[in-house]
Every structure is written in structure tokens, then in C-alpha cells.
């Protein structure tokens, strides 16, 4: 539940108190979780929750009243015996206009109670309030099947094709305590941007410029998910939002804008361990741990830390960088400063500093990353790293995935295969990109 606000009106606080006590009693805490719409962390979600409470209480009152009359009528007028059943029929009355009209009036009154705060909230939640527009921060979010690209239009960096906005993927970092306007775009089908604790969803629709605004009151780590069915892997198209205090946000931005991190490799360096020891995973196996969830923001901060000198195997990383190029990863991905111009897949320049991979699905551990790059199909069915598209959308540039599809024979042939050695080196390389 939200922190209490002293300016709140008393009845509203009482209601909320009642709910805090009652709802867990009824449902055992079913309204608590990383995507709970009840544990709001910003003004937009809070406004939406307030409207929900109004609708909830008005309908609850009506339900209790109407339900009581219905239950009473059912028990009172029920035929209980054979005598009742064979009694003369009751008076054949046809209705009572006064009762009916007053009930219609009462319904309209109840709806007006809902309508007023609803209208107010429609305008409030639509866009950043005028008085806050000066301090609003703007980002672009673009949906892809099945991941999110995030762009910072005010932060320009030197990319493979000249100066362009800073790009990251699947983890949107925003300043806390400031309204954030998110411009919503998509490159393929309709997706929907939803971070329940910060704001209700708005769809990303082709050929349509949508937006939403949200604000995280405090620094925090939030779960989000695509909320419009977008094809085979819709269920695993997720993302995270990390809100940081101004200073920490700026530090993060500076690091992100820098080119990819490169380690010095001694000429005679040997790879200490050429193959890692990776477990096998079943299809759709979970990719989260309780340790991470216990302190997600703390864990996010931990993963930003650059390892001390000598902790990483520079030779292995260099090999991974070579494999990255050899396996044509750079066709779809870009590691700014190293390799690649690809715009089809997520930008990997700082992949090592993200807490999740595969669109917020798996924690960014070596095991999970190895699993994802060696067996992408088992993580995210139908994804376009594992397969090339069967039918190429008009106007879209498409690179083949690991497997190339032959429409004539309706067959897939393996084009890219990541060997265990390559996978191990790629994991080390990608994790060095912080």
C-alpha cells in the first residue's frame, strides 16, 4: 500500500485502512507483487488506483443493497411446501412506474459519482501536467517482436552511422522524482507498454504516435511487461524500469554514453579455462532467483560495478569478441566502439550492466546468458535470433538468424552454430561490456 499522505481526506484514508485490513484477509495477499496495481509508486498509477477505488466502493454499495433485496426476495417468497406450490397464483401485478423511475434516477446518481473523478483523471493521466513540463524527461520506447528498445533523444552519442541518440534495451533507466514522457513506437505489430506500479498501459501501434507519462516518486526497480498480444512469445516480452536519484542517473548516463569497454590483452595471454561448466536447462525454465528479488535495486547497482583489474580473463574476452564478429552477431547487434551496425537486435554496448537478458526474462548470469545465446529457441519460442523470418514484412530489413528458412522446401537449415567454446567466450565478452 502507498505511504500515507497527511493531506488526504479522512474518509479516503479510512477506506484505504479498511482495504489494507480486509483484502489480505480475503485473498491472502494476492494483490501484492512486482506488478501489483495496488502498490503504486508514482502519481499516474496512484490517480488510476484512486479512480478504481471510487468505482469499487460505489459498485460494492450497490451490490450489497441490490444483493440484499434479491436474497431477501428469494428466501421470503420461495415456495417451501407442496401447499405453497399449489396455492392460487399471486396477484398478477405488472410493475410500479414510481419505483422503476426512482431506481433509474438512483443509478444515474451513482454513475455521476464515478464519472466526475474519472473525467478529472482522464485529463491528468493523459500527458505531463503543464506546470511540470519544464522538468519532464523524454525517452522513446519502441516495441519489437519480442523486446523493447529505449532511446534517449536528448543524449547523443557517436554511433556506427554518425551521431544518434543513446540506445539501450529492455531496461529503461529514468530519473526518479521527475515526470518522464515516453514516446511509444513499434516496428512490427502492436505492443503495449505497461509498468503497473508507475502507470497504466498505452499501446505501441504502427503508424501512430502514442505516448504516456509516468513518474517514480522514489528510486526503485520496477517490473513491466508487454500487455497486447503480439505473437508467439508475447508472454515473455518483458522489461524493467529503474528509477535513480538525479546524481546516480547522471553517472549512469555518462557510463552508458561511453563506448564499449575494451580490456588490454597481453600478447602471450592464455585462456585459463576454455570451456565453462554450464548446466542444461529445460524449455521455458525459470530465470529468476529469490536472492535477486530480495534487493533488485541493490543488485542492479552491484552489476554496474566494473570488476577490479585482473578479475576478468582478458584473453577469453578477446576470443569472445572475435567470435562475436565471426558468428555474424554484428549483423543484428551493435557494440558501439567495437563492432556491428545492426539495428534489428538490441544494442549490446552495455549488456554487461543490465540485470536481465532476453527482454527482462532471465537474470543476466553467465549460465542464463550461455543458455540464451546457445539455445535461444528454448528460452523464447519463435524469436528471430533462432530463426529467420518465414515471410519478410514489406519494407523491413531482415537478417537470417541461426537457422535459415527455405520457403521452397519449407525447411530450416542451420547457419550459425555456437560451440561450447564460443559460447563460453561470448559470455565472458558480453559480461565485460559494462
Amino acid at each position: 500500500m502507498r505511504s500515507s499522505d497527511p493531506t488526504e481526506k479522512l474518509p479516503a484514508r479510512l477506506w484505504r485502512l479498511l482495504l489494507i485490513v480486509l483484502i489480505p484477509l480475503i485473498n491472502g495477499g494476492w494483490l501484492s507483487g512486482p506488478q501489483s496495481t495496488f502498490e503504486t509508486e508514482g502519481p499516474v498509477a496512484k490517480e488510476q488506483l484512486d479512480v478504481f477505488y471510487v468505482t469499487l466502493w460505489v459498485t460494492m454499495v450497490i451490490f450489497v443493497l441490490v444483493g440484499a433485496v434479491l436474497a431477501y426476495a428469494t428466501f421470503k417468497f420461495k415456495a417451501r411446501s407442496s401447499e405453497d406450490e399449489h396455492a392460487e397464483p399471486p396477484e398478477q401485478s405488472h410493475g410500479n412506474p414510481i419505483v422503476e423511475l426512482s431506481l433509474i434516477g438512483a443509478s444515474i446518481f451513482a454513475l455521476v459519482i464515478i464519472a466526475v473523478p474519472t473525467l478529472k483523471a482522464i485529463w491528468y493521466t493523459y500527458d505531463v501536467p503543464e506546470e511540470l513540463q519544464d522538468i519532464a524527461y523524454e525517452v522513446n520506447a519502441t516495441g519489437y517482436q519480442w523486446w523493447f528498445k529505449f532511446e534517449y533523444p536528448t543524449e547523443l552519442v557517436e554511433g556506427p552511422m554518425g551521431e544518434a541518440p543513446l540506445v539501450t534495451a529492455n531496461e529503461l533507466v529514468i530519473p526518479a522524482g521527475r515526470p518522464v514522457r515516453v514516446n511509444l513506437r513499434t516496428v512490427d505489430v502492436i505492443h503495449s507498454f505497461w509498468v503497473p506500479k508507475l502507470a497504466g498501459k498505452v499501446d505501441m501501434i504502427p503508424n501512430r504516435g502514442n505516448h504516456l507519462w509516468m513518474q517514480a516518486d522514489e528510486p526503485g526497480y520496477f517490473w513491466g511487461q508487454c500487455a497486447e498480444y503480439c505473437g508467439e512469445s508475447h508472454a515473455v516480452m518483458r522489461f524493467r524500469v529503474i528509477a535513480l536519484a538525479e546524481e546516480e542517473f547522471n553517472t549512469w548516463l555518462e557510463n552508458q554514453k561511453a563506448e564499449a569497454r575494451t580490456l588490454e590483452v597481453a600478447a602471450d595471454a592464455q585462456i585459463a579455462n576454455a570451456t565453462g561448466d554450464y548446466p542444461t536447462f529445460r524449455v521455458n525454465q525459470k530465470g529468476w532467483t529469490e536472492e535477486f528479488d530480495a534487493d533488485p535495486l541493490g543488485n542492479w547497482r552491484a552489476i554496474q560495478e566494473i570488476p577490479a583489474l585482473g578479475e576478468e580473463d582478458a584473453a577469453l574476452i578477446a576470443a569472445g569478441r572475435r567470435y562475436f564478429s565471426e558468428n555474424r552477431c554484428a549483423g543484428c547487434h551493435v557494440v558501439r566502439g567495437h563492432d556491428g551496425m545492426g539495428m534489428i537486435g538490441p544494442d549490446l554496448t552495455k549488456i554487461g550492466s543490465r540485470t536481465t537478458i532476453a527482454a527482462g526474462l532471465l537474470e543476466n548470469t553467465p549460465e542464463n546468458l550461455y543458455r540464451w545465446i546457445t539455445e535461444p529457441e528454448n528460452v523464447k519460442p519463435g524469436n528471430f535470433m533462432a530463426h529467420s523470418r518465414k515471410v519478410v514484412p514489406k519494407g523491413m530489413v531482415v537478417m537470417p538468424g541461426y537457422r535459415i528458412y527455405d520457403a521452397e522446401k519449407d525447411e530450416e537449415t542451420v547457419d550459425i552454430e555456437i560451440t561450447p567454446e564460443e559460447g563460453h567466450a561470448l559470455v565472458a565478452y558480453l559480461h565485460s561490456l559494462k
Partner: protein, 651 residues
């Protein structure tokens, strides 16, 4: 009808039969009374209603199995019971099947069977067209479900098939995948069936009411049939246009929704929901009609506030066309449009609430007979009320921004569609079962099935409210165990199986009743409307004598004014006989032939074999042309002329 038709001199003359005899075999209309041919060629509204009923119940079970697959997959997090692709096919087909192949045709079964009886008609206005509507429905149903048997698999674009997911590029398992084509063709063909059937019902209700059956004396179920029929003929053109456009995009390279050519996917949503929202009322209005018949019968008093119930049905139908964008609150419509659709949506709650008030008013001071249909009807009122309340929560757009496309919506529409439509239809089956088959459900087993269904339904869907508010999006084949969704999902799955057992029990009870149920005499519930004046099962010609209607609850009036009615009937019988008896239509092969042409053509079209599609079209036109040429046919019955040796006479 009967006056106009029986007085028609052309049909009434004796020599007509001799003219018929001269026709070639091609134009001789079959008149089999039993056997397979009699069913394939039937034009009897009761038989067609029965066909609708049986096939929709079959598809109801298919959709139910699909639902159980979905629930099994979601029982535990990160489950692998079915793949993502199969899951997506299951939820697409579950919705499509339940809406278009179960609830709509089951409603149509009642329209067909009950409505003509309620207005004292001998059949619908266009009996052959009625048969055609059914066979076209079967054609559409077959095409939609072919995916079970072919490589393409089932459609997987969701029941509202949002563009551009339906474009070739995004809906293809492999090049040449036709699952989406089958979805498009199947729905178009089902649309033909619905529109044809609805026009038939409208003409029937407007023109064929018995003498004295004024509009304001129509039984409420007939009123709701009329409104539903109007909703169908006004709403289906929108989806037909949308489907034709997406078909053109897929097959002929047009750019209605094709993004690269500047097409607008948002247009699909407007076209779809301008159909889709009235469709919701197409599903619920017949249910409301059934409830408005059952509650008065088992309360033994007239419906409370009949004019307001009828009028609110009309208002729901009208407003239903002005609220479609509340399905699109998250598409960034802007403030004014959102506000307008919010207010319109709230407004529609008023006529809906009115109906609930009037149903309670009907119970008030009644003698409530707690029979199985009444149990389902009361269950309907409770569950529909809850679904209505979550509907009001959706109408508040800012709150809906969190609820849209979450399990809260799933909970909402299952409360109105199962707790609403399905409960009412299940009530209707037991209510009219004695009329259709002369047997009555055992109260013990009927009520037991009700309680299992009622409990299973609530255990399944009530937790989904919490799932949605706790951030679980719909249409997801998997979820993680750290989201707080595990317990409600497990409970929902258990509930789904309880519900499944309840439905299975209901079917067993229904089939048992058909073969072994208690035999009943006519009018077992002390009914109020004209259908109960008939023997069970009703004879082919329905009414021996065209009834005269004097009051709203026509049969109730008859039962309390026996002498007046007897005198009137004797006079009418003599008049009918003077016109040559009851004219009955002959059967016809052409409705099913025409429908088969559509099936044939659509199958080839889905396979992109245009020559085959053209051949199918030719068969369709041939069928319709021959249909026009086969002549009136028909024969006469003399139900009131007894013991005169006429072989055709029935008494």
C-alpha cells in the same frame, strides 16, 4: 402469417398439386418425414433449431476442452504442458468457438425453435432461408476448425485478430500458412449465416404474429430476438468489411492495414469493435430474454415493468453501437474521445441495471418455484450483476488503463458470458426441454449440476480479478513464479476442472433426460406464453388453429378464459378449413447445396487456388438459382378435420 398466407388464393387452390406433378425431378421438392434426407433438406424451424442446438452444444464442448488446455498450462509457473504456439492457438480458438460456434448458434437454436411458437406462427417467414442459415453456419464452423487436421494448424491471432498480426508476415508458421485465411473465411461465412438468419427472424416477428399479438404483447424473449437480429444485421457489415480488407491485404497486396504502405492498424480496431461491442449484446440479449421468460413463469406472476424491460433492451441495443472504443482506451485516443466513450459506457449501465431491478421486482411477492431452470436463472442474475459491476470499473478509463488486457478483463467477460449468457442458455435448455422432447429433468440431478457449475465457475474466475489487478496480462502462455500469481492460478485451474465436471454432469443429465427422463404432459411449468399451449413435442404445423391473442401473457389468459378461447378456436378452425387446411412447405435440397458451394469455394480460397474458389462460387450461384426455380411445393394438413380418411390429416 396464417391469415395472409391461407387466404392467398394461389396457394390455396387444389389444382396447384397437379401443376407440381409436371415438374422435372430436379425441381421436385423432397418431402421426407424421417431419415437422413429429411434432416438434410428440412425447412421446419423446430428441426433447424434442434440442429443448431446439437451442433452448438458440440462446439461448446470443443471450446471447453480448449479452455481446460489453457488452464492446465497455467496451473503452475513456467509450465510446458503445451507450447507457446499451441497455447496461442488454444486461446484464439477457445474465444472464437465459444462466441461464434457455441453461444450465438445456441441462441439461434432458441430463436428458431421458440420464437415462432411464442408469436403463434406456423414457421418462420422464409423456411428454406432458415435451413440455408444453418448449413452456412456449419460451413463456417468447419472452416474455422479445419486447423485441427491440417499442417497450418489453428488460427493463432487472437479472437479479435489485431492488424498487423494478421498480415502474411506476422501470422506465418511457414510460407503458405493458411491458418489466418481460414479464420478470415470462417468468420465471413458465419457472418452470412447470422445476417440471413436475422433477416428471417425480423420478417417473421414483424409479419407473422398471430391475430391480436401486438408488439407490446410480444413475449420478452421474442423482443430480445428482434433486437438481437437488428444488432446482427447492423453490426456484421462492419466486421465483414474489415475481414474483406484484411483478406485483400493478405491475398491481393492492398494496403488497408499493411503498415509499409501507410495502412492503419488502428482502423482495424475501430471496424472490429464497432462490430465487437454490439456482438457482446448479441450474446447477452437472448440470455436476458430467456431469463425474462423463466423468472415470471416460476414466480407465477407477470414480468415486473414489461415496457421498461423491453425499452431498456432497445436502449442497450442502440447505445451498444456508441461505446465500441471502450475496448480501445489504451490506444491513445486522446482525452475527449476517451471521455466521450467513458460516459457512453457508463450510460449503458443504466438500462442494464434496470433489467436487474425488474427481475427482482418480478420475484417480489411471487410464489417462487425452485425448479432447475429457476436455479440457473437466479444464478444468472447474481453472476451477471457481478460481471456488470466489473464492467462499470472498466468504463472508468483511467482505471481501465491498468485493467485492459489483464486477467481482470478475463474475469469480467467470463462473468457476463458464462455467468450471463451460458447460465441463461443452460436454464433455457431445461426450461423448454419438456416442450421439445416431452421429458423433464430430474430436480435432484439438475440442481446438483447447477451447484457444481456455479461453484466451479466462481472458483475459476473470481481469483482472476486479483490476478489482473496484480498485473498478470492475458494471453500469456507462461508466467514467472515470483509475481504473486501462483496461488490464484492454481485455484483457477482447480475451479476450471470443477466447472468442467459440472458441465459434463449437465450433459449427462440432459442426455439421460432425453432418453429416460420423467414424461410430462403439456405445459408442465404452468407457462404463460403461447408455446406452452402446444402438445409436446409440437407437431410440424405447430398450431392446429391459429391462436387469437388477447393479453400479454397469452397462454395464461387462455387458461383463465377457456370458454371464450374455445369458441374463438372453433370459429377459426372452420375458417382455416374453408381455405383448404394448413399449408405446409416442402423440404428443399438447395439450401444445403448452396451452403456446400460456399464451403467448397472457401476451402480453395484458403489454399489460394482461385479456380477452385470460382467453382465454389458457381455452385453457390447455381444453388441459389435452382432454389428460385424449384417452385413453391407444399402440401396441406387438416388438423381439425377428424376421421375423414384423409391420409395427410393429423389430429
Amino acid at each position: 402469417m396464417d391469415q395472409s398466407l391461407t387466404k392467398n388464393e394461389f396457394i390455396g387452390h387444389e389444382e396447384e398439386t397437379t401443376q407440381e406433378a409436371k415438374r422435372s425431378w430436379l425441381f421436385t421438392r423432397p418431402d421426407h418425414k424421417t431419415g437422413l434426407v429429411s434432416w438434410l433438406t428440412t425447412v421446419d424451424h423446430k428441426r433447424i433449431g434442434f440442429l443448431y442446438g446439437v451442433s452448438s452444444l458440440f462446439f461448446f464442448l470443443v471450446g471447453g476442452v480448449e479452455a481446460l488446455m489453457i488452464r492446465l498450462q497455467l496451473a503452475v509457473p513456467n509450465n510446458n504442458f503445451i507450447s507457446a504456439q499451441t497455447y496461442n492457438e488454444m486461446f484464439t480458438m477457445h474465444a472464437t468457438t465459444m462466441i461464434f460456434l457455441a453461444v450465438m448458434p445456441l441462441s439461434a437454436a432458441f430463436f428458431n425453435y421458440i420464437m415462432p411458437l411464442q408469436i403463434g406462427a406456423r414457421d418462420v417467414a422464409f423456411p428454406r432461408l432458415n435451413g440455408f442459415a444453418f448449413w452456412v453456419f456449419m460451413a463456417g464452423a468447419i472452416i474455422l476448425n479445419l486447423g485441427f487436421f491440417v499442417k497450418s494448424g489453428l488460427p493463432d491471432v487472437g479472437w479479435f485478430g489485431y492488424a498487423p498480426l494478421t498480415a502474411q508476415a506476422y501470422s506465418s508458421e511457414f510460407a503458405g500458412d493458411m491458418s489466418t485465411d481460414m479464420w478470415i473465411m470462417g468468420l465471413q461465412i458465419l457472418g452470412v449465416s447470422s445476417v440471413v438468419g436475422s433477416l428471417n427472424f425480423i420478417v417473421t416477428i414483424i409479419n407473422m404474429r398471430a391475430p391480436g399479438m401486438t408488439m407490446m404483447r410480444l413475449p420478452v424473449f421474442t423482443w430480445m430476438t428482434l433486437f438481437t437480429a437488428f444488432l446482427i444485421i447492423l453490426a456484421f457489415p462492419a466486421i465483414t468489411i474489415a475481414l474483406v480488407e484484411v483478406m485483400m491485404d493478405r491475398n491481393f497486396g492492398t494496403y488497408f492495414f499493411e503498415v509499409s504502405g501507410g495502412g492503419l492498424p488502428i482502423l482495424w480496431q475501430h471496424l472490429f469493435w464497432v462490430f465487437g461491442h454490439p456482438e457482446v449484446y448479441i450474446l447477452i440479449l437472448p440470455a436476458m430474454g430467456i431469463i425474462s421468460e423463466i423468472l415470471p413463469t416460476f414466480s407465477r406472476k407477470p414480468l415486473f415493468g414489461y415496457p421498461i424491460v423491453v425499452f431498456s433492451g432497445a436502449v442497450i441495443g442502440l447505445l451498444g453501437f456508441g461505446v465500441w472504443s471502450h475496448h480501445m482506451f489504451t490506444t491513445g485516443m486522446g482525452t475527449v474521445a476517451t471521455a466521450a466513450f467513458t460516459l457512453a459506457t457508463m450510460a449503458i449501465a443504466v438500462p442494464t441495471g434496470v433489467k436487474i431491478f425488474n427481475w427482482i421486482g418480478t420475484l417480489w411477492q411471487g410464489h417462487l418455484m425452485m425448479r432447475t431452470p429457476m436455479m440457473f436463472a437466479l444464478g444468472f442474475v447474481w453472476m451477471f450483476m457481478m460481471g456488470g459491476f466489473s464492467g462499470i470499473m472498466h468504463s472508468a478509463a483511467p482505471a481501465d488503463a491498468q485493467q485492459q488486457d489483464s486477467y481482470f478483463v478475463v474475469a469480467h467477460f467470463h462473468y457476463v458470458l458464462i455467468g450471463g449468457s451460458i447460465f441463461a442458455l443452460l436454464a433455457g435448455i431445461h426450461y423448454w426441454f419438456p416442450l421439445m422432447f416431452g421429458r423433464k429433468v430430474s430436480e435432484y440431478w439438475g440442481k446438483l449440476s447447477f451447484w457444481v457449475i456455479f461453484i466451479g465457475f466462481n472458483v475459476t474466475f473470481f481469483p482472476m480479478h486479483f490476478l489482473g489487478l496484480n498485473g498478470m496480462p492475458r494471453r500469456t502462455f507462461t508466467y514467472d513464479g515470483n509475481m504473486g500469481w501462483n496461488t490464484p492460478n492454481m485455484i483457477a485451474t482447480i475451479g476450471a476442472f470443477v466447472l468442467g465436471i459440472g458441465i459434463a454432469l449437465y450433459f449427462v443429465v440432459m442426455i439421460y433426460t432425453y432418453y429416460k427422463g420423467e414424461k410430462v404432459k403439456k405445459d408442465p411449468w404452468d407457462g404463460r406464453t403461447l408455446e406452452w399451449s402446444l402438445p409436446n413435442p409440437p407437431p410440424a404445423h405447430n398450431f392446429d388453429v391459429t391462436p387469437h391473442v388477447h393479453a400479454r401473457d397469452a397462454y395464461w389468459y387462455e387458461k383463465h378464459h377457456k370458454e371464450e378461447i374455445a369458441a374463438e378456436n372453433a370459429k377459426q378452425a372452420a375458417e382455416d378449413e374453408a381455405h383448404g387446411g394448413v399449408h405446409m412447405p416442402s423440404n428443399s435440397w438447395f439450401p444445403i447445396i448452396t451452403a456446400c458451394g460456399m464451403l467448397f469455394g472457401a476451402l480453395f480460397f484458403c489454399n489460394h487456388i482461385m479456380m477452385g474458389a470460382i467453382v465454389g462460387l458457381i455452385i453457390t450461384f447455381f444453388g441459389a438459382w435452382m432454389w428460385a426455380l424449384e417452385g413453391p411445393g407444399g402440401y396441406h394438413l387438416h388438423p381439425t378435420r377428424k376421421n375423414d380418411g384423409d391420409p395427410a390429416a393429423e389430429s
